[in-house]
Amino acid sequence: MSSLNGKVPASNGARAGRMLRYVDALAEAVAQEMERDRRVFVYGLDVDDHKRIQGSTTGLLERFGAERVFTTPLSEDAMTGFGIGAAMAGMRPVHVHIRMDFLMLCMNQLVNMAAKAHYMYGGAVSVPMVVRCMIGKSWGQGAQHSQGLHSMFMHVPGLKVVAPSNAYDAKGCLIAAIRDDNPVIFVEHRLLYPTEAPVPVEPFVVEFGRARVMRRGEDLTIVGISNMAIECLRAAELLAEAGIAADVIDPVSLAPLDVDTIIQSAEQTGRLLVVDNAWTNCGASAEIVARVAERPVRNRSIRFERMGFAPTTCPTTPALEQEFYPNPSRIAAVGYRLVRPGDGKWVPDPRRAELSYQVQFRGPF
């Protein structure tokens, strides 16, 4: 049901691991890397307060002390440059932002410095830095606290971008990000924090650039990004009730992007639906559709569709907010239309679909 990725211990027990929440997987990954490598440190607004970034930095201050786990002033621009400088000097900073929207304050450092340093200095330095950032949950967070802006970073050579959708990948990708010699934008989603999956106790790495096939089906390929991977799985369940079988693919890593896995599936199903937790215009979904559309060898014609945020600013009122986001019901409906274009009547049970993100998700493994 899933393609193996990462140097997971072979034994079944270890591979299965315990059930762990996404939020705890983040904290565990960082703790294990801090233990292993003295150069790793964690900083950012509020990483050391009692809320610990919704729990995702829990335990770090106690174990590693204020020298390696510290808050900052509200100075995103300078604090990003600070991390870049420390990384150039050989340290391994993990900079934490409680909302991805705040990265707009440090775009200059991320785009003009971090992404480019290795290249424009001819390889003389590297920037092994991780930028953890959380996409806000939908509940009334509004215009400036809920954006998924990953495509801006995918656009710029020199940055890696990952967006794990489950606790297993969260741990494996975060460890990989910390060990990576390049700047990595690590995209989290608030709604994933409480979700559980089996996660090995030992440190392990999920390699970037390998998509994960989370579910198999021959009628339709659905690619889900970040938490939309989970919503797509739910949509696939709804579609199954209508007799439609969907491949559900989670790219996990957005830059580098494993487009081959997606192409392979889409060539088999002839239909590709890409669902992002972001706007579609020039988004990750545009890139994925474009790459599949321009594949050199074409054994089969493919129909495409994208879903993402409504092309509007995010409203706070729940009446509109629910229309702003894709949900399993709407994803399923679009998938259905793609497979059976003539038959426009099917609508999935709205009650089952609506609450999807409150349903405890038990991981793809």
Partner: protein, 322 residues
């Protein structure tokens, strides 16, 4: 906090009390409603900090302009923003001041001179400055007061703005509501130097530090700061108002059990509370009238919000472009 003389004529005190009580009452009611989930969006209460906005706004004209933050209820109400539209906004209703699209963090009431507030710390400061530039060009003596927290002073944009406002002598009063914390982080972990006023003065702005519980002192300081601005090219001023947040950073509750600050820290601020003190200074009859009028105003706002309808689906797509 000093002894707090609070000397002012009765009329002024009553006017101030009405605003103080309104702000306090409004937020208490919001806090009461919050657990019902009728307000589905984060709220950052000003409870304990009301005197700053009330004092400053009482020194402003109706056609002056204020700009606030996500902790902006007090500034909105103190500047006579429409209370019904505000409550409806919190409820996500179509009759809200931002048509339900903004919520508590994005209040706006242009008719009453309330610029839209923002959830990104520091981001409204340069916008307020640009507005002040337009008012300067207009030449009708209007001014802008820009409110922001102590945390905003760590954002580079604040210093860029102070420099530019001073360079172009813009009619803007910068008001820092220093409540000692950014979320749960105390100033010691964020500022190398505690003397904010010295930093600002070095940037070329008259700057003063004022007890944020002393609503009369704040009013006086704001009045004397804006008077020369109205007359011409005097340039900006800066006030640091020391104050204290009584509730949790976001949400309706107290959080003295969370561990990052003690309840003892609250005590002197509670003792200096402007609402209580000003309330005690005005006549009992006047006070009762004000309170019952304001109570009704807030009840009406809740009723208005309750009775208003949610925006229709089609509203999702409106207002993307003007």
């Amino acid at each position: 906090m000093p002894d707090g003389a609070l000397r002012a004529d009765a009329e002024t005190l009553e006017r101030l009390y009405r605003k103080l009580y309104l702000t306090r009452r409004f937020e208490e009611v919001v806090a009461d409603i919050y657990p019902t989930d009728k307000i589905k969006s984060p709220v950052h209460l000003s409870i304990g900090q009301e005197a700053v906005a009330v004092g400053v706004c009482d020194a402003l004209r109706a056609d002056d302009v204020v700009s606030g933050t996500y902790r902006g209820h007090a500034a909105y109400l103190a500047k006579d923003g429409d209370a019904n539209a505000m409550m409806a906004e919190l409820f996500g209703k179509d009759s809200g001041c931002a048509r339900g699209k903004g919520g508590s963090m994005h209040l706006v009431d242009i008719a009453h001179g309330v610029l839209g507030s923002s959830a990104v710390v520091g981001s409204t400061v340069p916008i307020a400055m640009g507005y002040a530039f337009a008012l300067q060009r207009e030449g009708r003596g209007r001014v802008v007061a820009a409110f922001f927290g102590d945390g905003a002073t760590e954002e580079g944009v604040l210093w860029e703005s102070l420099n530019f406002a001073a360079l172009h002598k813009l009619p803007i009063l910068f008001v820092c509501e220093n409540n000692g914390y950014a979320i749960h982080e105390p100033i010691e972990k964020r500022w190398a130097v505690r003397d904010l006023i010295a930093k600002v003065a070095a940037f070329g702005l008259p700057a003063s530090r004022i007890d944020g519980s002393d609503v009369v002192a704040i009013r006086a300081a704001a009045a004397s700061a804006v008077a020369p601005m109205r007359r011409g090219a005097h340039g900006p001023s800066f006030m640091e108002c020391t104050t204290y947040r009584w509730r949790e950073h976001v949400g309706p509750n107290a959080d003295f059990d969370a561990g990052y600050r003690s309840r003892a820290e609250l005590e002197p601020w509670a003792a200096a509370d402007a609402v209580t003190r000003v309330g005690a200074m005005i006549g009992a009859a006047a006070r009762q009238t004000i309170e019952s009028e304001v109570d009704r105003q807030v009840r009406d706002a809740v009723a208005f919000a309750e009775q208003s309808s949610m925006p229709a689906s089609i509203e999702l797509k409106t207002h993307v472009f003007a």
